[in-house]
Chain length 64, copies 2
């Protein structure tokens, strides 16, 4: 399986948001993430970087 | 390896842009894609959807 883990990245810190992410759908100022079990999270963030070989999705929080 | 293929999606059509993508770095109105061999493409697009279990990255072209 080639799912990835989603992290908020702040400086050198990585804060795990969701594991085993299958789908990511960007919306206006929001991201919808869905893991392989169908669990969803809607977060106010944008994609900062994908590093798929490392199974990592780095996100950046957006201001409320 | 858990790289993915990047496609432009227009309606139901998928147009392959780059295979074996490892890294995707969004920039202002641009995306930098890098495959597992280090080849890079800079495209005027945004991420429309990630479907990682299917190894697919769907992009949407932006106006010039």
């Amino acid at each position: 399986m080639c799912e990835a883990n989603a992290y908020f990245k702040v400086g050198d810190q990585e804060e795990l948001l969701l594991e085993n992410v299958d789908k990511v759908i960007p919306q206006e100022n929001w991201l919808l993430l869905e893991d392989i079990f169908g669990h969803r999270k809607l977060v106010r963030a944008r994609i900062k970087e994908l590093s798929l070989v490392d199974h990592k999705i780095y996100l950046e929080k957006l201001e409320q």
